[in-house]
Amino acid sequence: MVANLLANYEEAFAIVLFGIGFTMLLFQRNLFKKLIGLNIMDTGTFLFLASMGYIRGRKAPIVVDGVTDPKAYINPVPAGLVLTGIVVSVSVTAIMLALTVRLYRRYHTLQLDEIYEMSKHLTEDR
């Protein structure tokens, strides 16, 4: 198993990045850090997808001099998936940052547990 893991080192690193992002999402109390963690999770997934399509010694999928032999190029499908994914991830980030701005205006803090306690307190009093 360890030999397999060493051979698949790129996928293993992608999983480690995904894990770091997931850990940040669970353990950071700061909303901003949570967002960066989400972005790191995103890139971990992209790295995993792209490394599944990579084939050693082959070129990028751009046809040069009319060579249309599938043995000459790497797998283009993951690249297409990841290309759309990167652009979606930035729009998700923008919406979440806007929501963070609104939360900060209401509670004047970015710590999620303080926001949670304040919201409970405020709704109970009103």
Partner: protein, 311 residues
């Protein structure tokens, strides 16, 4: 009455959402007041006995439990995923199960789509519906951010400097800096030309709508940061952005929605493919690339605009 209200909204004279959306009055408070407010809230929170109990006992118990569950789930998730990775096919070697579809894309791609870049041919021809939804995701995100961060009518008339003068802050206008302005005057045209090159060569080489649009959006952001919003608004106004985005998305939807009405495969018989490698090649791919690029560029600039001077 309803109709006239609709028309006046359409031409941007009145704002229908004016009274419906929550407007925050605290935005003009100075920084000290915000801090005082926060401290008051916290003190109040700690003083009330119920809240103290919550923080003291329930919350601590909750967080302890939360940490245990979180650690266990993190370790389990990473362990399971690493185990799965160890059983995957070897990295960097050809995997016969996945190359069947790829063989078709590579062998017939240039012939069927007219694009040398197989990725561009894939995302804008074979799977163009995917990209259509993608452009709408961007558009929807821009609308959401606009709703969340929009200015109210009072702040709209004020310039950017007034906004900060009210808040009692020293306003450092970056557009008055000679270095920034002169460097931007040289860089912005170059970045713009590069963006257009990347956009137009999407079917021949690396690039395409998403990357070219993002580069152009970055050039617009630098222009607006270096010369101020007064000048940027003259070139890329809100109205221009809205119309360009609307036109690009409608064009894309019409070009791909056409299939629904005719039952045909594509518009393939109407637009010549051209010779692969030339700029005017790839049939519908180049117009779609331009549409996607325009949407991406104006969305990125819109994000910057809203975060820079929104509420």
């Amino acid at each position: 009455m309803n109709k006239s209200r609709f028309l006046s909204w359409l031409y941007g004279e009145t704002d229908v959402m004016e009274d419906i959306l929550e407007l925050d009055e605290t935005s003009d408070e100075s920084r000290e007041q915000l801090k005082r407010e926060k401290r008051r809230l916290r003190r109040e929170l700690l003083r009330s006995g119920r809240a103290k109990k919550v923080i003291g006992a329930e919350t601590k118990g909750f967080y302890a439990l939360y940490h245990v569950v979180a650690v266990v789930s993190c370790i389990m998730l990473i362990g399971v995923l690493l185990f799965a990775v160890a059983n995957l096919p070897r990295y960097g070697e050809e995997n016969p199960e996945t190359t069947e579809m790829v063989a078709r894309y590579v062998e017939k791609g240039v012939e069927e789509t007219g694009a040398d870049n197989i990725v561009a041919g894939m995302i804008l021809d074979y799977r163009a519906f995917d990209t259509l939804g993608e452009s709408h995701v961007l558009f929807t995100a821009l609308i959401c951010v606009t709703i969340l961060l929009r200015l109210d009518r009072k702040n709209m008339r004020k310039t950017y400097e007034d906004y900060y003068a009210i808040r009692g802050e020293r306003f450092h206008d970056i557009s008055r800096e000679a270095i920034m302005r002169n460097v931007a005057a040289v860089l912005v045209p170059c970045i713009f030309v590069f963006g257009i090159y990347v956009l137009l060569n999407g079917q021949n080489g690396p690039g395409g709508g998403f990357s070219g649009g993002a580069v152009m959006g970055a050039a617009m952001i630098i222009f607006s940061a270096a010369f101020g919003f007064d000048k940027a608004d003259r070139v890329f106004s809100k109205r221009l952005g809205a119309w360009v985005t609307f036109a690009a998305l409608s064009f894309y939807s019409a070009a791909k929605g056409y299939v629904f009405f005719t039952g045909a495969n594509h518009l393939e018989n109407h637009i010549p493919k051209g010779t692969p490698g030339a700029i005017l090649s790839g049939g519908l791919i180049l117009p779609l690339d331009i549409a996607v690029g325009m949407v991406v560029a104006f969305t990125m600039y819109g994000f910057y605009n809203l975060f820079m001077r929104g509420k």
